[in-house]
Amino acid sequence: MLSFTNPLWFLLLLVLPLYYALRKSGALRGIEFPLTLGDWNGLPFRWASPAMRAVGFISIFSGVFGFVCIVVALAGPVLFREEPVYSGTGTGIVFVLDVSPSMAARDIGNETRLDAARRFIRSFLKDRPGDSFGLAALGSEAALLVPPTTDHRVFSDRLDSLAIGEMGDGTALGLGIAVAAAHLANRDRGHSCVILLTDGENNTGEINPKTAAAILPDYGIKLYVVGIGTQGEVPLDYTDPASGKHYTGVLNSEYNESDLREIAQRAEGIYVSAGSADTLASVFADIGKSVPVSPSSWTRTVEEPVENPVILFALGLFAFAWTLRRLVMRAVV
């Protein structure tokens, strides 16, 4: 809502009719050069052309409007908006993202599996400003890239920079779950969850995924396992960040859903399969419903001054009026 902090300044607008009255009464005049009428071999007198009169009017209008803009800026235009404030860190949600090369398969619409996952994570994040988000990546190794944080900008930046193959070629699901659990263990029970997005079966790592999943209920951590991608032959195109080699071709995509389901069951969690953008959207919607959004502690009224665009506009109007008068109408002042 637009409001003004010092509306009394609007009284200055009365200067405009006052100026008009002074000019009309002759108390105030423009610059004149009194000359005796006579034949001075100059050009014959001509009325200004309609175009020039229009230019004159526009320049005066710009000057007057610029004056009005300054008065408006002086009155202190502000926009008030309500902003939620969060005193806690909300629910801790750690996304464990599989970044093995198979996630480069392009079978979720026109996107790769990783890009689709990223997109839905970003929209999930947007609706939960009061929650903490963490990011872990897994390949042949697993690592926590961002601890659960309310600084969503850092989370988003790291999510965007995540590259296929940066954790090596492999799928260490157990390590990924364990890393996430280790960094959520200290949170209040029932206020944390792990969302694992993978397209493969565990084939490396020192920790069995079922063992890792089994410890989650002890710490009150929920687990959601999302099997992403389709089965069968899918196009694949990626560059290995380690070797710089470019791979392109067709991947015979297959993973054991029953293994992923069992991992979820061990953690008393949920397994869902998402083979398309629509199903991935519904999966995230379901997760969103089961993980409550942290409410704000209170709202604060933020006063956002908007005088700067008004002053800049006034500057532009004066510059425009000057250009018309000096360069088009050839007036000296």
Binding site: F33, G38, F67, I70, G134, V154, H183, S297, I311, F318
Partner: protein, 331 residues
């Protein structure tokens, strides 16, 4: 009085006066020569014929030029002074800024300035169970190593492995660390904001006082833990080279105390080796205290654009009316 601008680049618009004045001078000369040649032809005497008009023209031009300058300054968003704004807070958040420049590797405190800082910070983290903690590393540049999190383990892991080799940028620009820490507090958080800086103050960029002042205006509290001794220790300038040259690095507590003064009320300087310093740091950061709601007063910069807008209006009106009235009186 320290004047700052929200949009300093707008000040360049004042340079538009240069071509504008050139256009005026060229136009004025053309007008003068036509006018005088006509006067000479008709009356034969050109003395003083142009003077009243010239006076008015110059007066108006000066007034309009001043109006333009004041308007440009207003658009640039000038600020000076601070006003205390009430703000509700709940909870606390603390960002540790660790100076990992090479001067921190000397051993005038045990085991080294860096090792001492890491242990000290880890001990503080352990005593802030309810606070969100983050970590910024600073050397020639600054990087947010751990964003604000209640996962203190992530902070402790990085503290365990501190080393100058974690950042490649040479030098020591500790002020950049304070700036990075200020930017790392989410705007929507109601928690108190404290920056705890561990440094010997031996920086090359000279940026600490300005950054401390800016941190105050961002509503953060700055606590500086000075690490090192006044007598200092020698550091190898070119490590690994045959050219053996050393220089002495000391704790610059004078600089750090002055930075804390710039950072305003509630900020604190302690020497890390002083007994009880950690307790003072904990008290200042309000991270060990209750999580109840409280009302605090945060300093905010005062916008001064209206002052320059008034000046611009006065100059503009003077340009239009004063010249007109002067001419009117003459004739």
């Amino acid at each position: 009085m320290n004047v700052t601008f929200a949009h300093p680049y707008i000040l360049f618009a004042a340079l538009a006066l240069v071509p504008a004045l050139l256009v005026f001078v060229v136009g004025y000369r053309g007008l003068k020569s036509s006018f005088l040649s006509f006067i000479v032809r008709t009356s034969g005497d050109s003395s003083d014929a142009m003077r009243p008009a010239a006076k008015t023209l110059v007066m108006r031009t000066v007034c309009f030029a001043l109006a333009w300058i004041f308007l440009v300054v207003a658009a640039a968003g000038p600020r000076w002074g601070v006003a205390l704004i009430p703000e509700r807070q709940q909870g606390s958040s603390v960002i540790f800024v660790m100076d990992i420049s090479r001067s921190m590797t000397v051993s005038d405190v045990s085991p080294s300035r860096l090792g001492f800082s890491a242990r000290y910070a880890a001990m503080l983290v352990d005593r802030m169970p309810d606070a969100s903690c983050g970590l910024v590393l600073v050397k020639g540049s600054a990087v947010l190593a751990v964003p604000l999190t209640k996962d203190h383990r992530s902070v402790l892991d990085v503290l365990d492995s501190l080393s100058p080799s974690m950042l490649s940028a040479p030098g020591s620009g500790t002020g950049a660390g304070i700036t990075a820490a200020v930017a790392a507090f989410p705007a929507s958080s109601a928690a108190s904001r404290t920056i705890i800086l561990f440094t010997d103050g031996d920086e090359t960029a000279g940026s600490i006082p300005d950054a401390a002042r800016a941190s105050r205006l961002a509503g953060t509290k700055l606590v500086i833990v000075g690490v090192g001794t006044a007598s200092g220790a020698d550091i190898d300038v070119y490590p690994g080279s045959d050219d053996k040259k050393t220089t002495r690095t000391r704790l610059r507590d004078d600089l750090l105390k002055s930075a804390v003064r710039s950072a305003g009320r509630g900020s604190l300087y302690v020497s890390g080796t002083d007994a009880g310093s950690a307790l003072r740091v904990l008290e200042a950061s309000s991270a060990a205290g209750s999580s109840s709601r409280r009302l605090v007063y945060s300093p905010k910069p005062v916008e001064r654009y209206s002052f320059f807008l008034v000046l611009a209006l006065v100059a503009f009106c003077a340009g239009i009316t004063a010249g007109g009235f002067a001419w009117s009186r003459k004739h």
